[in-house]
Amino acid sequence: MSSNNRKKLLLMGRSGSGKSSMRSIIFSNYSAFDTRRLGATIDVEHSHLRFLGNMTLNLWDCGGQDVFMENYFTQQKDHIFQMVQVLIHVFDVESQEVIKDIEIFTRALKQLKRYSPDAKIFVLLHKMDLVQLDKRNELFQIMMSKLQETSAAYGFPSLVGFPTSIWDESLYKAWSQIICSLIPNMATYQANLKKLKSVMDAREIILFERTTFLVICSSNTASGELLDPKRFEKISNIMKNFKQSSMKLKSSFKTLVLDNTIYVSEFSANMMCFIVLNKPDDPQDLVLENIKKVRVYFQ
C-alpha cells in the first residue's frame, strides 16, 4: 500500500439527523443509549482515525444547523470541499422538510463537482427504526430513486444508499461498506480469504479491522447456510466489549479459542480474523500454525 493514504470523509446532513451519534458508536465505543447525551455539533468537528495501519481517516463531522450550512457553501467552500474522498450524506427519514434536505444535498454535490469531482457519494437514510416495518423498503426505494436522479444530474451517477438505524446492525453494515470502498486491494483480500477457507475447511472466515471491529470482508457471501444475518455486527459488538475488558488488565487480547471451533486471532498489526471451523476435532496447534502461515498474504 502506498503511504499517501490520508482520506478525507465529509459527514453531512441537516441538524438532528444523527451524524454525531453514528460517529460515536462506530469510532468511540458508545452504545446507542449513550448517544442521547450528545449535544449539537458546533461548526466542524474533526477526528483523525488510524485505520488498517497506514490509512488515516480524517472524519469531518459538519454540524447541520442552517447557519453553519450556509457558511459551508459560501465562505468556507474551498476549505470544506477540497480533496474530499467520500461524502456521507445523512437524511432523517422523519424529516418534515424533505425538499429542503434534498436541496442542501444538491448544493453539496455542486461544490463537490467543482472542488473534488472524484469523490464517492454515499447517502444514509437514517432513523429507519421510526418507520413501520412493511413501509421501510418502499420508502427507501422512493427516496433512493429521487436521490439517484439528483446526483446523476450533478455528475455523480453511481450513488450508493443504505437504510440505517443506530438500534440495529444496519449501521455497522453501512459503515463497513463505506470504509471498505476506501481499501485499495480488496479483491486480493477476498480471493485469499476464499482460498484460506477451502484450505482450512472452515465454515466461515471473517476479517475485522482491529480498532473498530468493522467487517473488512467475509468468506461466504453466497452459501445458503442458515446463520444469523446480524452475526457480523453482533461479533463486532461482543469483541469490542471483550477488548475493553481486557484493557482493564492493562493488555490487549491476542487469541481466543472457543470449543476448538471458533478461533479469533490477530492477523496483522491492524486486522483480526474470526474463523469458525466445521468440526471440532482438528488439533489446535495445526489450526494456529495455519493462521500464522497465512498472515504473509494479508500484509
Binding site: R203, K234, S246, F253, L256, V257, D259, N260
Partner: protein, 326 residues
C-alpha cells in the same frame, strides 16, 4: 429449623422502602437487563419469588416497599423463618432516616423469629456520590444502625454493609458475598479451588453462575474487583459467541463449553463449563513455561476438580432428604 416449607434452601429476601431500587437489582443481576432500562420499571405491588436452580438453588423473594408486613394477613413469621438472608436496600441518595428506623423494626422481628438469619444492608445507588461522600455515608449509616439496634437491645446481631450500584460490578460482588454465606459447602469449594490454584500456575479463579455472573466461590487470595469484572465479561463473550454459531451441529449439545484466550501481557483467561450452570474461569500466568504445556496441566487438574465438584453435589442432594427423615 422447620423443614416443612417448600424450600429450606438458600432463599434471599429483598426488602427496603419504596423506590429504593429492589426490582432494578433483581432485573439487572438475574435477568441481564440493561441498567438504564430499569428506569421504566413499574412499582412492584406483589411479593415476587424467583428460583434459580444451580448448585446452590438460589431463590430471591422481593417484597414491595410500601407495605406494612406486620398486618395480620401477612404470614410474616413463616416468611422470615424460611429465608437464609435478609437483604435490606437503603437508597443512599435519599434521606435515609426513615429507612433506618424501618430496618431496625424489621431486624428486631426477624431476629426474634429466626436467629440464624444473615442480615445484610446494601447502601445502594452510590454511583451518584463522590468518593469522600461514599465513605462518610457508609460510616454514618453504620453508626446509626448500631445505635438503633442497641436501643432495641439487639447489639449482638451481625449486620454486614455493602456499597452498591447497578451501573458497575459492585452489586454482583455484594450478591456473591451474600450468596456465599448461604452455601454450606463453601469451605470445601474454597479448599478445592486453593488446591487447583497451587498446582496450575493460576493467579486467580472464580466459580461462576453462568446465568447471573455471581461467583459462588473463589480461592482464598484477595478478590480484585478488576479481575472479577474481566472474568465475568469473559463468560458473556463465550456464551454470546457460542450462541451465534451453535445452530447447525445438534449432536454436540452434550459437549462442555471451553474457551481460552491469550492476552498480550502473557496472561491467559481460561473458561470451562462445570456442572449445573456453573463455569470455572481462571487467570493463568504461565511465566516462563510455554503456554501449551501449562494449559495441558490445567486441563488435567480441572478435570479432577470437576469430578470433585460432582461428588460434593451428590452429597448436597442427599442431605435435605436425610434431614426430612430425622
Amino acid at each position: 429449623m422447620s423443614v416443612n416449607d417448600v424450600n429450606s434452601k438458600a432463599t434471599i429476601l429483598l426488602m427496603g422502602l419504596r423506590r429504593g431500587g429492589k426490582s432494578s437489582i433483581c432485573k439487572v443481576v438475574f435477568h441481564n437487563m440493561q441498567p438504564l432500562d430499569t428506569l421504566y420499571l413499574e412499582s412492584t405491588s406483589n411479593p415476587t419469588m424467583e428460583h434459580f436452580s444451580t448448585l446452590i438453588d438460589l431463590a430471591v423473594m422481593e417484597l414491595p416497599g410500601q407495605l406494612n408486613y406486620f398486618e395480620p394477613n401477612y404470614d410474616s413469621e413463616r416468611l422470615f423463618k424460611s429465608v437464609g438472608a435478609l437483604v435490606y436496600v437503603i437508597d443512599s441518595q435519599d434521606e435515609y432516616m426513615n429507612a433506618l428506623t424501618n430496618f431496625a423494626i424489621i431486624v428486631e422481628y426477624a431476629y426474634k423469629v429466626n436467629p440464624n438469619i444473615n442480615i445484610e444492608v446494601l447502601i445502594h445507588k452510590v454511583d451518584g456520590l463522590s468518593e469522600d461522600f461514599k465513605v462518610d455515608t457508609q460510616r454514618d449509616i453504620m453508626q446509626r444502625t448500631g445505635e438503633e439496634l442497641l436501643e432495641l437491645g439487639l447489639d449482638g446481631v451481625q449486620v454486614s454493609f455493602y456499597l452498591t450500584s447497578i451501573f458497575d460490578h459492585s452489586i454482583y460482588e455484594a450478591f456473591s458475598r451474600i450468596v456465599q454465606k448461604l452455601i454450606p459447602e463453601l469451605p470445601f469449594l474454597e479448599n478445592m479451588l486453593d488446591n487447583l490454584v497451587q498446582h496450575s500456575k493460576i493467579e486467580k479463579c472464580f466459580l461462576f453462575d453462568i446465568n447471573s455472573k455471581i461467583y459462588v466461590s473463589t480461592d482464598s487470595s484477595p478478590v480484585d474487583i478488576v479481575m472479577y469484572e474481566t472474568c465475568a465479561e469473559f463468560v458473556d463473550v463465550t456464551i454470546d459467541l457460542h450462541d451465534l454459531y451453535k445452530g447447525q451441529a445438534k449432536n454436540d449439545t452434550g459437549r462442555e463449553l471451553k474457551s481460552v484466550s491469550a492476552l498480550n501481557n502473557d496472561v491467559v483467561i481460561y473458561l470451562r463449563q462445570m456442572i449445573r450452570g456453573l463455569a470455572l474461569v481462571a487467570l493463568i500466568r504461565p511465566d516462563d513455561t510455554d503456554v501449551e504445556s501449562c494449559l495441558t496441566v490445567v486441563d488435567y487438574n480441572v478435570d479432577i476438580f470437576k469430578s470433585g465438584l460432582e461428588q460434593v453435589w451428590a452429597h448436597a442432594r442427599i442431605t435435605p432428604a436425610n434431614s426430612k427423615t430425622d
